[in-house]
């Protein structure tokens, strides 16, 4: 075990896989000469050369689709889309092609592609540079969508993604790159499609992923000191979604809150809430609440940005409201 940053974990994994498998190559804007806009790929061009670490022109549809074609012939490209906001330029190739080729063509081809891309706001980058669009991809059969929240899971899930023969979108987060944690040395994979309970608890379940899972854990630890036992479920995988782990947790705690960085309506939390009400209906003592971003194109001005984004305080309020029975009609009502 070594304590390293999330950024370092991603970097080391890319390097290890480039060393292990000659079919792995990296493509993306500024990943080479510039060393990566978030420095994930620093030093890799110098070590592996331009054949394997390719700077692309600015053409997301073109270079993502090109990676798909290379994958069809058995290469294992790892594409960096600078932020998930720009993935929209490539969405036809991702959704209509990568996700569907194996199915449409009767299993004669596979697309062992990885797309790595960070989401997240909070750096005053304004509306088009601050989104969390992972739900668009989590919705699509044929894709796998992963969201590591820790350096260990970043290594484990990126390794698994590169070795997986299907198109995988690995969601990173700008706010997580500098976080640190213990990472197993050597070969380390995390099983795709599995959530994990990062903190056991008895009073309420918080379901989260990516940056929100870190916030949730933080809140849970603080509330523990105040006598509230919060169980945290870190999804790690959005597609497939580990519904069993989510529901098993809520059957233990009877209450659930989702913390998510994306907008509320039609977001990832909507799926989690629907899953919980179906899978743990008779165990619920309160409605499932979702703490998500305010539904507005994110403004630049700092007070507005802060207000619009979900944070520890908003999660704490939602937890307390749920435990206090805030959904109940009034003091006369009794609660069995």
């Amino acid at each position: 075990m070594t304590v390293i940053s999330y950024r370092q974990a991603l970097h080391d994994t890319l390097r290890a896989e480039l060393l292990r498998d000659q079919d792995v190559l990296l493509l993306g804007e500024e990943i080479g000469v510039f060393e990566g806009s978030y420095k994930i790929t620093a030093g890799l061009l110098a070590e592996f050369g331009p054949r394997r670490v390719r700077d692309t022109p600015i053409c997301e549809e073109g270079f993502v689709g090109t990676a798909i074609g290379a994958a069809m012939l058995g290469l294992r490209p790892v594409v960096e889309i600078m932020t998930i906001n720009f993935s929209l330029l490539a969405i036809d190739q991702i959704v209509n092609h990568a996700a569907k080729m194996r199915s449409m063509f009767g299993g004669q081809v596979s697309v062992p592609l990885v797309i790595r891309t960070p989401g997240g706001g909070g750096q005053q980058l304004a509306a088009t540079h601050s989104q969390n669009l992972e739900v668009f991809y989590a919705h699509v059969p044929g894709l796998k969508v992963l969201a590591p929240s820790t350096p260990a899971d970043a290594k484990g899930l990126l390794t698994a993604a590169i070795r997986d023969d299907d198109p995988v979108l690995l969601l990173e987060n700008l706010a997580l790159y500098n976080t640190k944690g213990e990472v197993p040395d050597g070969d380390h994979t995390v099983e795709i499609g599995t959530a994990t309970v990062t903190k056991p608890g008895t009073d309420i379940t918080v379901v989260a992923y990516s940056r929100a899972a870190v916030v949730a854990l933080d809140v849970a630890r603080r509330l523990e000191d105040q006598g509230i036992s919060v169980e945290v479920v870190d999804l790690r995988s959005l597609r497939p979604l580990d519904r069993d782990t989510i529901c098993a947790s809520v059957r233990r705690t009877s209450r659930a809150v989702v913390l998510e960085d994306d907008w509320l309506s039609y977001g990832i939390g909507a799926e989690i809430a629907a899953t919980i009400q179906e899978g743990a209906f008779d165990y619920l003592d309160a409605p499932v609440r979702r703490v998500a971003a305010a539904e507005v194109p994110l403004p630049y001005a700092k007070p507005l940005e802060l207000a619009a984004l979900p944070d520890a305080a908003a999660l704490t309020r939602a937890i307390r409201d749920t435990l206090a029975g805030a959904h109940l009609p009034g003091p006369e009502a009794t609660h069995a």
Partner: protein, 362 residues
């Protein structure tokens, strides 16, 4: 007219024959006629099958384009890769796919080229390196470019190296992916030939109404990709131009652009009556039909006699009839195979509920 661009563009064939195949070999020419006739019969029968509801969805035909299809496929080598549009039945046949399996795909049966999963627009034949069949206009261009990247990644250029041929329609030259990928191919020097099959209409839209540069072979200028225009109704001219382009692609890793000018005999798809065409135009196109023209040319030059030509025609009809019979006897995929092929690597918690199933067991 003088060109400032350093990329040579020409509206005629270069005349080079790097592979030395004698253009006039009678057996080869008869073979081309046979292929063209097979495609004609197959496509006419597909139209009939569509109107009988044996084929669903959309059905786009190569009627009138047989010379282009056969010429291009005569140039492509077995180990080259082909990416096409959704108008690809003829290409699959010319590439050597079993007509019964092509028809079975149109019928949605398990013996179809794509297992019945893709239909008319998504034919795929891994063994023959036909890597699709794409319904999204221009969707094939990035993957084709990526296949060429894989070739460049693995292999040195050379006269026997593998190359990629990417077909696209005239209207597709306006979509972003076309420009992004030609640029990528130029910057990364990829072994790919982009072939614009210009049948002069994008559904109902004429080329000139949609293209800022309607001489489509010139659209590679922005990427210094050499372009050539060739008569798509002349199977030998198409073959020679395609061979030349493929040679430069494989031997120099120089991406190339080729424009073949032809037309479709019918509408955009089987359900399109092509009312945007005047009766006079439609009649004129019938007179320019390359198939009877080629047949006449071969008979006039002694390559074919009338009896042999008639025999080839009959055999093509019989082959298509047999293909329909075989295809129709094949089963449709069973419902319990619905989720087959979604993933290549099995992973936990993959949800396979049918509509109305509970999502989670309570």
């Amino acid at each position: 007219m003088a060109e400032a661009s350093p990329a040579p563009v020409s509206a005629a064939g270069t005349g080079r024959h790097p592979t030395g195949d004698a253009a006039g070999d009678p057996a080869v020419l008869r073979g081309y006629y046979r292929q063209m006739r097979l495609i004609r019969e197959f496509e006419q029968r597909a139209a009939e099958m569509y109107t009988k509801a044996k084929i669903g969805g959309y059905c786009h035909l190569n009627l009138g384009e047989e010379a282009t299809v056969v010429g291009l496929m005569a140039a492509l080598r077995p180990r080259d890769y082909l990416f096409t549009t959704y108008r690809e039945h003829g290409y699959a046949l010319a590439r050597g796919a079993d007509p019964a399996r092509v028809m079975a795909e149109l019928f949605g049966r398990t013996s179809g080229l794509s297992g019945g999963r893709g239909g008319s627009m998504h034919l795929f034949d891994a063994d023959r390196r036909l890597l699709g069949g794409y319904g999204i206009v221009g969707g094939q261009i990035p993957p084709a470019t990526g296949a060429a990247l894989a070739l460049a990644y693995r292999n040195q250029p050379g006269p026997d190296a593998e190359a990629v041929m990417c077909l696209l329609g005239d209207a597709t030259t306006n979509i972003g992916a076309f420009h992004e990928c030609l640029n990528l191919a130029a910057v990364w020097r990829l072994p790919i030939v982009y072939v614009i099959v210009n049948n002069q209409l994008g559904m109902g839209t004429p080329v000139e109404a949609a293209a800022g540069e309607p001489e489509l072979y010139r659209r590679g200028c922005s990427y210094r990709i050499p372009g050539q225009r060739v008569d798509g109704n002349d199977v030998l001219a198409v073959r020679e131009a395609a061979r030349d382009a493929l040679h430069r692609a494989r031997a120099e890793h120089q991406p190339m652009l080729l424009e073949t000018v032809s037309y479709r005999l019918r509408g955009h798809s089987v359900v399109d009556p092509a009312r945007y065409r005047s009766d006079a135009d439609t009649q004129r196109l019938r007179e320019l039909d390359p198939l009877p023209a080629f047949r006449t040319r071969l008979i006039d030059t002694g390559v074919l006699d009338a009896d042999t030509a008639a025999r080839i025609d009959t055999e093509a009809q019989q082959e298509v009839t047999a293909a329909v019979d075989t295809a129709d006897r094949a089963p449709a995929p069973a419902v319990d195979t619905l989720f087959d092929y979604v993933y290549a690597t099995d992973v936990a918690n993959t949800y396979r509920g049918m509509p109305g199933d509970p999502v989670v067991a309570p």
